[in-house]
Symmetry: C2
Subunit: 432 residues, 2 copies
């Protein structure tokens, strides 16, 4: 595969920017091997060159002069992770208008000025990609833009604010009050000191406005969103909801509704809501996010993953960088490249936790003899249950993670034990 150099100009170097520099450095050879793209960051535009940073950066890469990258024909691609409306908006427009593709993680900017930016990209025929702007590391923007571009989407419901989901999860699982959980979120750095933006639903509102734009192909902005926050939710509400078979989450909803005159209206709202325990959104806890999409043809889809954090967000930015870089270079092709045959693991070299179900004689000392077999093969037990049945008993075990060959040897020894009548089941356990 022939190699193409892509020179990147990075705007901003906070948590996400630093994680991106790290990821790009670490994966540069692998990406070059797989895609033929040699990605390098040529310039990083920051406010203060002398600020201490979590990653080592060569001084000549840092600059305070954005005009050295925007419109510079030596810079093939602009990545914006500075945040805020201005100067980000002006810089991105400058890049797009001069034919530079842009990758951005800036949700406020897209939620307020998306239509203007999308139109500028369309006019110049260059990419404007923003996977990281909506739900951190979860790939949901690309599936909505591409995989579902012909799908008649009827509704999107998202748990897309990590701070409020952390607070509600703590209130639910540990019974702490809203105020305590908020304080804890602030101490852990999940919530800002001014928590209004998260707690009252503005952050989720900006994200659902972007998702609504993608899903319905209409210019929806954060000003169209109707908000209700979670500051009024009590531990008692959560307990009553629990008794009725529900949990409480902050949900962002975008839906298309036919009004009384038969016209299509779009509703974009954020509110705390009860979710039945058997709904896939009910399992989205802590700092995880999920986006639940309903379409006429596809039915129900859900995208789940980390909604924030430097490395997950940088991963989403990185995917966009590779995509936009590829678009600069090739016509199309398989996007997979030439494939080598890999080494395939032999069965015995895997590690797993196991479930075993043994029929044994119900007599004193059986458990000790069985346990000794496990111990001899270095297999440690995570949990055990014993059940008597007339003259026999049943032992069920879950082991800690072991080499499969050790488990096979354990099984042979167990089968040869006179007190073991039968090994009824051996199944793997999905663990970490």
């Amino acid at each position: 595969m022939k190699s193409s150099s892509i020179h990147i100009g990075l705007l901003g170097c906070g948590t996400v920017g630093a994680a991106l520099v790290h990821l790009l450095t670490e994966q540069r050879d692998s990406v070059k091997h797989r895609t033929g793209l040699d990605l390098s960051i040529e310039a990083i535009v920051v406010n203060d060159i002398n600020k201490e940073r979590s990653i080592p950066l060569p001084n000549e890469v840092l600059t305070t002069d954005a005009s050295s990258v925007i419109g510079n024909p030596e810079i093939n691609l602009i990545v914006e992770v500075m945040g805020g409306i201005e100067p980000a908006r002006e810089l991105i427009l400058g890049a797009l208008n001069s034919g530079q593709p842009v990758v951005t993680a800036n949700k406020e900017l897209l939620a307020q000025h998306g239509a203007e930016l999308y139109a500028a990209a369309e006019k110049s025929g260059v990419d404007l990609l923003f996977e990281a702007a909506v739900a951190g590391g979860i790939p949901v923007v690309r599936p909505l833009r591409e995989s579902l571009s012909g799908e008649p989407i009827t509704r999107i419901r998202g748990i897309i604010n990590g701070t409020t989901n952390f607070i509600l999860t703590r209130m639910t699982q540990d019974g702490v009050s809203f105020d305590e959980a908020l304080l804890e979120a602030q101490e852990l750095g999940y919530a800002e000191l001014d928590s209004t933006y998260d707690v009252e639903g503005y952050d989720a509102g900006a994200k659902i406005a972007i998702l609504a734009t993608l899903a319905f192909g209409a210019d929806v902005t954060s000003e169209d969103v109707q908000h209700e926050g979670i500051s009024g939710i009590t531990v008692e509400d959560i307990k009553f909801a629990d008794r009725l078979g529900h949990c409480i989450k902050l949900v962002a909803v975008a839906e298309q509704i036919i009004n009384q005159e038969g016209k299509s209206e779009i509703g974009v709202r954020v509110y705390p809501a009860l979710i039945p325990f058997d709904h896939p959104l009910a399992a989205v806890n802590g700092s995880f996010n999920a986006v639940f999409v309903e379409g006429d043809a596809v039915g129900e889809l859900m995208f789940y993953g980390p909604g924030a954090g430097g490395r997950p967000t940088a991963s989403a930015v990185f995917g966009d960088v590779i995509d936009a870089s590829g678009n600069l270079q090739r016509s199309h092709g398989s996007l997979i490249g030439a494939l080598d045959r890999p080494l395939i693991c032999p069965p015995e070299s895997f590690e797993s936790s196991f479930y075993l179900n043994l029929k044994v004689e119900d007599q004193p000392g059986v458990l000790a003899r069985v346990a000794e077999v496990f111990e001899n093969h270095g297999v440690s037990i995570q949990s055990m249950e014993q059940e008597g049945m007339a003259s026999e008993a049943r032992l069920t075990f879950i082991t800690h993670s072991v080499h499969e060959k050790d488990l096979l040897h354990t099984l042979e020894s167990l089968k040869s034990l006179d007190v073991v009548s039968n090994v009824d089941s051996v199944l793997r356990v999905v663990g970490d």
Copy 2:
């Protein structure tokens, strides 16, 4: 937006093909408005022109002659939904070699001959897209190819066979035996009469081979997969697992392992496994599928949705068709197009189910008076709980879906009722 005509040649017209023709006809105007692409099916290659079909097709579109579309410069795009290895392989290669992009849903073909097809697409510089080949309507192929193309993926675990998941869900929720559940799946048309391909894990094996190829950028085929099926799983296994806090699912796993010589090996396996109840995969029931992806930077992601079915699968094919068609026409751009401002719903026009928590006087007849208020406003009650507290009582309700304006009127009436001391909480309930 200028309009471009795309002429499609369809190979095969079974369940998915017919659903695609339907979806494309229904959405043609909407896609044209949003993307400028005017998609039309110009020819459908079938074995038997006279066979009765579930959708009306003009006779002149049907043909038995594949050579009339493959390599025909009037046909811009080939969609293959005929299945099987030959002649599908030969036809797709012919199309790619003559510069026609191809969309396919053919998992067996990709799992056996993927490397050859990807190389042909790469050589010709045309798209080969196959979102529908892995997990029906779930967009997981595109996120893996594009969003996660720079992500160091360590493991993928999927519940990607609907038949076995239906059987295990029936065994778990209703205690029916494996044989009964299989018979039922066959009667409902979920399982073939020869169930080996599903039950012994070959179907899931083909899909995980494709996912492994995408995740690790290596040529993994269905022959590399190690299989264990679910025919040995009993209701007793499921009960013991339940007591230990787990459910049992057929899991397909692709992972990268460093062997003792420090070399990277790939393991691709299908087996029944225990999954802890609090793992996101545990909530994937019935005919739903999910793919759980772990990466060094992004952490944990899950993609959830319908794993099969004509319309969901056609939705995935349709997304690929629009993508490949767009790639034929434009350089790049925003992929979003020009946006109009939508009508935004006024708050009172939404419908929802509601949770209400009322403090009331604990005296006879209170519930009747409260219930009468609901009734007067046409709000029907789905469930109710009453709890006494000294001289007061607490009533919690979940309503059926109501117009929000009716609920607002109900609240006003409730607040004016002398026996109601306070309306403590009003929250929406996420329903269908």
